[in-house]
């Protein structure tokens, strides 16, 4: 960690960023070639939220949330704060007060490969958080980290300004430069799925809807009684 705060970052077209919120994590992950998904330990602290936004990235030392305070000031409406501690601990890095500050700036959510606390208050505020842990364990505010440098978080590299999409399935990141093309691919996928859904609801099976029978036969599947 360098002790650097990058103030000016490029973000994707706001309309593109916003459009991702309706799509959901699974669709985005598939549409960009099964890529960009954070590890499954990153889960929502309450069910039902679905957001997209531009990543403001933060590297923090384990058990120290000083740089999250620094990062708040770098956030603008439509952003998602993404935090990566440099080691695994049971600390709660975010609480209701920081969430209030983020919320007042129009920040849409918070993602961390670590713990958060005040989850009852966060749920009540409707401020969505994806974390690997819930814990009230207090942090210190002692050491520097970085804001808006590329980070890794739960198995994915995230650049500031990348598009972050999060829902009950987890969190996926779309590189800023690919946001347009991934959005297009998502919509194509959605259209296709919508057609299939009707057929499934009507009782058809995917072996027919997706034309899987010949391939199964070729692989040697045997039906017995």
């Amino acid at each position: 960690m360098e002790g650097i705060v990058r103030r000016s970052i490029a973000r994707a077209d706001p309309e593109v960023v916003d459009a991702f919120a309706e799509l959901g994590v699974a669709t985005v992950h598939e549409a960009q070639g099964q890529a960009g998904l954070l590890a499954a330990r990153i889960a929502p602290i309450y069910p039902g939220a679905r957001i997209s936004g531009s990543a403001v990235t933060v590297n923090v030392p384990a058990g120290d949330n000083l740089m999250i305070h620094v990062a708040v000031e770098q956030c603008q409406a439509g952003d998602v704060l993404v935090v990566s501690p440099d080691a695994t601990t049971e600390h709660g890095y975010l609480g209701e007060l920081i969430a209030t500050a983020l919320s007042s700036r129009g920040v849409r959510g918070f993602v961390i490969d670590g713990g958060v606390r005040d989850v009852a208050e966060l749920r009540e505020m409707g401020f969505p958080v994806w974390s690997s842990l819930v814990s009230a364990l207090g942090t210190i505010k002692a050491k520097l980290g970085d804001v808006n440098l590329p980070i890794e978080c739960a198995g994915q590299r995230i650049e500031p300004g990348d598009v972050v999409v999060a829902d009950d399935d987890g969190v996926v990141v779309v590189p800023r430069a690919k946001a347009d093309s991934v959005l297009a691919a998502c919509r194509e996928r959605m259209a296709k799925e919508s057609a299939s859904r009707a057929r499934y609801a009507a009782g058809e099976v995917s072996l027919d809807v997706q034309g899987l029978r010949p391939s199964l036969e070729e692989k040697g599947l045997r039906y017995v009684d």
Copy 2:
């Protein structure tokens, strides 16, 4: 894995199968001699569901859901699809589309020692799922497995046609041949507990209700001030 689909399986008497749904997992587990419980990692993706059904069993290669597509066609109303991947991964094997197909056939739920995705949609549809993981990570459809051969899932052997009972406590399996006797034992247990419950609610303690005091004294329990 053999690449085999058994089309005709024996199921328990539908009235017996259905009766289990009111009983709950803990009761069934106790009534069959503290047996049949899947490992605690198998949990519901949303709270409040309680089902019973006949097992359609599926073995799948890790990260591959082709055979789940095959299995859908083998399901009938009143079944529960139970899936066992052959290794631990973070893939999401079931999503909303397959659930729509299962739901349209009257399948009551889905159990997997692995991941599922689209959990917000599944909750909205009211299609209950018990899994060890939530993850949007996409699978492939490449390799064969088996449908309706005996499987092991989260520490239990399950034969096709066995009765599966699932609620917020987890999942328990009742061998088909024992369904009648276990159901009877459950009802006996329920009756007994119902009587006890009234006494507990009235302020009595189990030391008296269950007559535990003599045994405690014999074991040497000492009360001090």
Copy 3:
């Protein structure tokens, strides 16, 4: 384990105990110097409960809940039953029947570094439980343990009569002798946070509210474009 039940324990002033319920775990943990928090694996079985009470402590052998039955009788209104099994297993030590007995005595909740079952019923009854596991796996009632001796639970020593506070963030314990001073410290903290909250909601950042800028400059933080 000794096979001892201590019947008379000192509790903190009921008004003090009750006052903690409004404060929340994170506040209490901070106000007593970031101390007393149980490990993060101890989580509520359903969201939204917040309680405080006097600890009745129980040591139980792994997979055996006999002493929980014994402990029920030692509980009075305003207590929280805290249970520590002597090894890690997937057993469910508490179910709806014991909870009914506890509830009828005015016990406010149950904390265990182990499993519980009947969680749907517990949620419906509104009897709050914090546990490391949900599992229907049945216990036996065979071996003695202790009631109201000091225990350790999920990384904290708990004396009978200590104040236990629990909410969606987890569980924290306050030594009985410090209950007054910790309560005072909590209230001071709450007042301070309340003032800060208004400023955050109005758009101020913690760098200003908490006066962090000089320290950041001194540490060498660099802002770049």
Copy 4:
């Protein structure tokens, strides 16, 4: 669990069973189509052992090793004892005394999806064990289970008499009926690998040895500077 001991089980041809010991787990797993591997949590308690043998299977209640005592008598020279507790706990089911009894009967090793103890003594005796845990936590001897019924262990179904192969990579099971054909497939694989090994040692890369370049080009791999 039934409380049943099957005394007479079919075993594979001893020469075939013994031949597997030289092959290693990875080779056997691959040669039978990437099947039969127990979950990765099953690891050797000391490095360097490599065995094969006929499975004697045991189902035990969690924390109870009574049936292991029963099973010892059913073992003969060349067997491997495979034990599956019905729930996850930290108990140590096998110690040096049972190992002495097994060793005196010519049993080649012990596999358990649970804990073992006296590991220093077991290492000194040269009695190899694969387990998910090392723990001195004592068991009881109270409840019945089964010997030589089909079990599931760490994600695999094992029939009594199946061939178990174990080394530093873990444990794989070969169904008895397939032992001959899998052995042949292993030998073929070994021969092929032996040829490849010489080429790799001489500096060739697998892109050439395995002829992977055309497929990479077809998939669109790009080499840049």
Copy 5:
């Protein structure tokens, strides 16, 4: 945590303490009634050590090893340093330098419910350590904790001066006041096991050596072919 160092602690009779080293953890755990065992995550960093000693106990804040430095001075020959961080993290609290200081004072080993580093050097020095983790992650030296107050460590309460026994199976603690009686019970157990061992080595099975057959028959065990 109080910031207190207790300088004078009572230790058990040195001959008694030393005698435990030959017995091993499993024997001690059994002989004191299956009690006192630390959780299975506490494992030796290298195989083959077996020690006993008097506990010097330390509470440390998560990620801070200042109090370990303080504790070194309170150790004398024959002691074992036992450290309990107040939360779970991946820090390495002990390295080769502190081990050198401990070793020069005649300290016999180190037990921690947390991480240690320099494990190659510790192995080379022959300074045995039992920990839940190996990690080079550096700590800070900022906050106070306590030395020689009662602690909890990995599920057990440990008083300063209690006897700690550790080997490849893990770590067990014997309360100081019971050291004599537990030692006697251990020796009795050892004698009994020694007799049994000879019979097992000669091919007898425990069903006969321990006289288990009548109980099995009574429980209803069935032998089938």
Copy 6:
């Protein structure tokens, strides 16, 4: 993942790279400001190895080792192959054959946030590997990934050509551009520690060697009897 192989990467001065091997992971981690350490789950498959080398980085799809085959060709003497699968699974990505190829090219070791197999053979060959898992579970060779793009691995960003240092404590990465200055800082630290070590071995305590007493007094540490 892009399907890109970067052939030409910058490496640090070979003398600098080699010098790190004598220093060890803990020293390097501390000397660069407690940074660069991979998560503690990355551990050596056998004890005693200590290496340094230039990173060749590989992104692979979960359960697919095709790109490791591709990467071998990009390695030269003095390199360390560092592999990051895009999701968590129990596959074994590296075996003895690839290790033979790597070894013949002078590659010094292999680091992966995933599984490896043939660990007995790797130990015998003396080819050191740091992994999060040992598993024989076979991979496929189907999908593209990247070689020598920046990756994240177990919580750290690694650029191709960065210096990787690994020993029994784990793995640390030094950015190529900082290799010189970190090496200098390491040597300074080593010199200081060497002086301290002599004093510790002579019985001095760190409270004096490091001059910690005044700070302890100031923090309010109390010594009691």
